[in-house]
């Protein structure tokens, strides 16, 4: 997807959000219709599997997918776009001559599926001449006919568009009322209905939901020609519309009256806060560059975990399969094999999982029929494992896949994707307030900002949404122009304190990109507020 497409969708240009669009627009009335029941899908899946086997496939899997999206886009008092998309079709993957082949079709008939299977087998045969090592699949359990659904309370697609649009417009009005000059707000809703079957004997029917409300508030100072923006402090979640109904128990109080959110979100409250905070940013102090102890709030830290732990531990990157695009990894196999590579300090425990309730990555089974589970990546600071799928497990001398294979659509081939990767909370009772009190010279950072990391995941630079200076254990005012630069291993080894589980929350990345052609996936990262000592902070102010 070219960036131009993203920008056209929002009409926001710079500072706007980048939104990949998959599938075709459809009216909402279609969203509730079921295309095929499970028995029809099983019958079609068997056609694909039998055709593959008759072409000499030693393994085949088929995914019959229906992917629904609804994106609502507003600015100020106007609805800019209501986009409903649906994409329906079949993707078939086979192993012939020890080589993968993949083909897909949007014509969901027995004949088309049969010929698509044959095409996948032909591609595998053609590519096998380049194959240096035959594919080795870790065994996978035959699950028979099973069902898994995201445990949502309210299906977002069943909520009237008018109600959703009304909520966005009320949030916009509230921000403008409080002095913001501009606000654009969005609500993304995703439903993946996917049926998986393989020659191993699994027939898996899944219904997966994700939701993301967000906005950008801008306040301008026409006299000086400056402007400040603030994004929403919401997180994309693996939830239904219940996330949009604010509940007091999900609100977390941060410093300086900041409200942070856990399993439900108050869009209007947050847009009002954003208006007030962008106003305060104009004229706030510009940061003095230097070393600071930084306190990172979960809706910020999640992105740092994503980039500095999640990506470098993707086994395909480590092996060199992403060398031409996303890059490779500093976390090489020899470091893992040594068994004592200090990725972080002793208190750093980071786990991968695709089972965490309300997370974006949650599913019953991955896109090659492996039951989802949890496993450790970093234990007491030491690198202990990677993320691997069926054809990679043998490289780690492991007997089973981790269950983190994913394709963005039926039309794309599935490959290893990042599961949820999260930081275990501190064991002892420890609050945000206590953490701030313990810092002499520091900066508290909330929300995601600009992010960039090198192709082996050593050097990174992160901005944020809100910055507050800490002096002698107390907040000393708002800061502007803050970014921190560090090296992954140094950074995680400077981790000295983690708040307890009562502060634990999920951050989410809704459109994480990987591969050529690029595919997106959605993934959450849980953490509690965490302190890192002696981090290099730079000042990003310039004059043009």
């Amino acid at each position: 997807m070219k960036r131009r497409k993203f920008i056209e969708l929002t009409g926001l240009g710079i500072g706007g959000m980048l939104i990949p669009v998959i599938g075709n627009s459809i009216p909402i009335t279609l969203a509730a219709e079921e295309r095929l029941d499970a028995s029809q899908k099983k019958k079609l899946a068997d056609v694909a599997l039998n055709a593959a086997k008759s072409m000499g496939a030693t393994y085949a899997d088929v995914r019959i997918g229906r992917y629904l999206n609804q994106f609502l886009t507003t600015r100020e008092n106007k609805v800019q776009n209501i986009v409903n998309t649906e994409s329906f079709g079949v993707g078939i993957r086979v192993i012939v001559n020890g080589t993968w082949g993949f083909a897909s079709t949007n014509i969901v008939t027995e004949d088309a599926i049969k010929s698509t299977s044959q095409q996948a087998a032909a591609i595998a045969k053609a590519n096998s001449k380049f194959q240096t090592e035959p594919v080795r699949l870790a065994p996978a359990k035959a699950h028979g006919e099973v069902i898994w659904k995201t445990p949502i309370e309210i299906n977002p697609f069943s909520v009237p568009v008018s109600e959703k649009v009304d909520l966005l417009l009320r949030a916009n009005a509230a921000a403008l009322e409080k002095g913001a000059n501009f606000i654009s707000s969005n609500l993304f809703q995703v439903n993946e209905q996917k049926y998986f079957a393989s020659t191993d004997g699994s027939y898996i029917d899944q219904d997966i939901h994700r939701i993301w409300p967000t906005f950008t508030v801008t306040t301008t100072d026409r006299n000086s020609g400056t402007f400040k923006t603030r994004q929403a402090l919401s997180a994309p979640m693996g939830m239904g519309y219940e996330y949009m109904i604010p509940k007091a128990k999900d609100k977390v109080q941060g410093p300086e009256g900041i409200t942070l959110y856990r399993n439900s979100y108050d869009l209007i409250e947050d847009s009002i806060a954003a208006a007030q905070q962008t106003k305060a940013m104009i004229g706030a102090k510009s940061v003095e560059p230097g070393k600071y102890d930084i306190i990172l709030e979960p809706n910020h830290l999640g992105l740092t975990i994503h980039e500095s732990v999640g990506h470098p531990l993707e086994l395909d990157r480590v092996l060199g399969y992403e060398a031409n695009y996303a890059g490779t990894s500093f976390a090489t196999m020899d470091k893992w094999k040594a068994g004592n590579f200090n990725y972080g300090s002793k208190i750093v425990n980071i786990f991968a999982d695709k089972t965490q309730p309300r997370s974006l990555g949650a599913a019953g089974y991955d896109d090659e029929g492996v039951k989802c589970r949890q496993w450790d990546l970093i234990k007491e600071g030491v690198l202990v494992n990677y993320q691997a799928i069926r054809d990679q497990a043998h490289i780690l001398n492991q007997n089973e896949s981790h269950g983190c294979c994913y394709a963005q659509s039926w039309s794309d081939v599935q490959f290893q994707r990042m599961p949820n990767v999260s930081l275990t909370p501190g064991k002892d009772k420890y609050t945000i307030d206590q953490m701030i009190r313990d810092v002499e010279k520091g900066i508290y950072i909330a929300g995601r900002g600009s992010y960039s990391i090198d192709q082996q995941r050593y050097n990174f630079q992160f901005g944020g949404t809100l910055f507050y200076e800490i002096k002698n254990g107390a907040i000393a005012g708002m800061l502007n122009d803050v970014a921190y630069q560090s090296n992954t291993q140094e950074f995680w080894n400077s981790c000295v304190k983690i708040c307890d589980e009562t502060d634990y929350r999920l951050f989410g990345s809704f459109f994480d990109g990987k591969g050529q052609p690029s595919q997106v996936s959605a993934v959450s990262h849980g953490s509690s507020t965490t302190r890192f000592n002696g981090i290099n902070v730079i000042n990003t102010a310039r004059t043009i």
């Binding site: 106007k78 591609i123 890059g327 970014a483």
Partner: protein, 444 residues
């Protein structure tokens, strides 16, 4: 069925419009055959072919707009999609910014379609990769690359009498060559409408050469340096200026082009006077579609001329409000340069850094267009006109606006591909003084 001829598209769109009961109706259709092959660790990892057709129907009742899309083209589906767009329009809130569809336009014929590219087969892709793999084998390097091609058409028609049609082809190729010990890495990329211009072996040899020469890199202190940016490195910085040319953002005071007192930089000098950037759909080296997706004709447009901002892009609504011509965003941009080759620019450099590729570019501050990112896959120290040694990669924090004010010299433009957006550009290599590197990276 993915590709329709002009006559077929005209007949189909006319038929679809005949179903319309709305005040206004507009239909867009596009289709393409895409092919790709990907390799890594000196073996093919994935390959595929995707054929698709997409039909978008927009119906309007007054200022209420509804949009529906379908990818089936039988008569029943066509009528269904029109009805659905009308139902949505009736449900949609009135949009005060809705602008009535355009009437008939005149579009000169394009030069974006090249038969040879449309005729690419899986074998041609595989042969190109085989050549690239051979270079890796001969040089004892580890290759990873990606070749993708597209043969597509787009057409539109509306109830005001507008009809537009175009076909286009494109091929992009990129390759990374790494040394066995992981200490060296080189990269090269090319994009063309005409596949016969692509020499996968020659491109791979450039990457291989950089990979071999970049091993045993030395660390030098971060700071301000004179840099020579190859076109692929310049592209990912300069395109942020192009994406920020929206007049409304500037007028609203929230763009790097906004100025105190509610003014903008339109008509003012923004960068060095040797900088001239324009778009030209009929440029022989970088042809693009003669029309935008809302039917507006793409013309030759000067964006920055001798350092002065000459034009901004306008939505039709904002142009109407401001009483100016509604210039659409360009599909590609060309920057004028000089006559020197990259080698000559290096030869004329006393001290500097050659940058092959920049990576993970992100906007740090939209007010100043400050960007951050890193060098990658071939960074070299230049002294007295020669490349002295490879250096470790740097993180930079720099604004392309500041950078184009620190221009030393421009070389001969060549076609390149943005690794961030896949967009093709025609850009010169450029020598820039005081480019700001802020930290070292251990990444190779």
């Amino acid at each position: 069925m993915a590709i329709l001829t002009k006559d077929e598209a005209h007949a189909l769109l006319k038929k679809i419009l005949s179903y319309s009961r709305a005040d206004e109706c507009e239909v867009n259709i596009n289709g393409s055959h895409n092919g790709n092959i990907r390799y890594a660790r000196n073996a093919v990892s994935t390959s595929g072919g995707i054929s698709q057709t997409n039909l978008v129907v927009s119906s309007a009742f007054g200022k209420k707009l509804g949009v529906a899309t379908i990818n089936e083209l039988d008569a029943a589906s066509l009528e269904k999609v029109v009805r659905r767009s009308e139902e949505l329009a009736q449900l949609a809130p009135e949009n005060p910014e809705f602008v009535s569809f355009l009437g008939p336009q005149i579009y000169p014929d394009s030069i974006t379609f090249v038969p040879a590219t449309a005729a690419i087969t899986p074998k041609i892709r595989a042969d190109a990769v085989a050549q690239s793999l051979q270079v890796a084998k001969d040089a004892n390097l580890i290759s990873a690359g990606f070749l993708e091609d597209r043969n597509g058409f787009a057409a539109m028609m509306n109830s005001k009498g507008l009809f537009a049609y175009n076909t286009a082809t494109n091929v992009n190729f990129s390759v990374t060559m790494r040394t066995q010990d992981g200490k060296g890495s080189g990269y090269a990329t090319r994009g063309y409408n005409d596949v016969t211009k692509l020499d996968a072996m020659a491109v791979t040899k450039i990457a291989a050469d950089k990979g071999l020469k970049s091993a045993t890199a030395q660390a030098i202190e971060p700071g301000k340096y004179t840099v020579i940016l190859e076109p692929a490195a310049a592209a990912v910085l300069l395109e942020n200026i192009l994406f920020g040319l929206d007049a409304r953002q500037a007028d609203e005071g929230r763009s790097f082009l906004s100025k105190p007192g509610g003014k903008t930089s339109l008509g003012e000098k923004l960068v060095d006077e040797r900088v001239t950037m324009y778009s030209d759909p009929w440029h022989p080296e970088l042809p693009t579609s003669p029309w935008a997706s809302d039917g507006r004709p793409h013309e030759k447009v000067s964006w920055i001329e001798k350092g002065v901002v000459k034009n901004l892009t306008y939505s039709r609504f904002w142009a109407q409000k401001k009483g100016v011509k509604a210039i659409p965003s360009p599909d590609a941009v060309i920057m004028d340069g000089g006559s020197k080759t990259l080698e000559q620019l290096i030869k004329d450099t006393k001290k500097g850094i050659l940058v092959t590729r920049l990576w993970y570019i992100r906007n740090v501050d939209p007010q100043t267009l400050l960007l951050t990112g890193l060098t990658r896959d071939g960074t070299f120290y230049i002294e007295n006109g020669i490349i002295k040694f490879p250096i470790k990669n740097f993180r930079f924090n720099e604004s392309p606006v500041i950078m184009l004010n620190n221009l030393e010299e421009l070389g001969r433009p060549e076609r390149t591909v943005s690794v961030e957006t896949n967009t093709n550009y025609l850009l010169p290599p450029m020598k820039i003084r005081d480019f700001t590197f802020t930290s070292l990276s251990d990444a190779v």
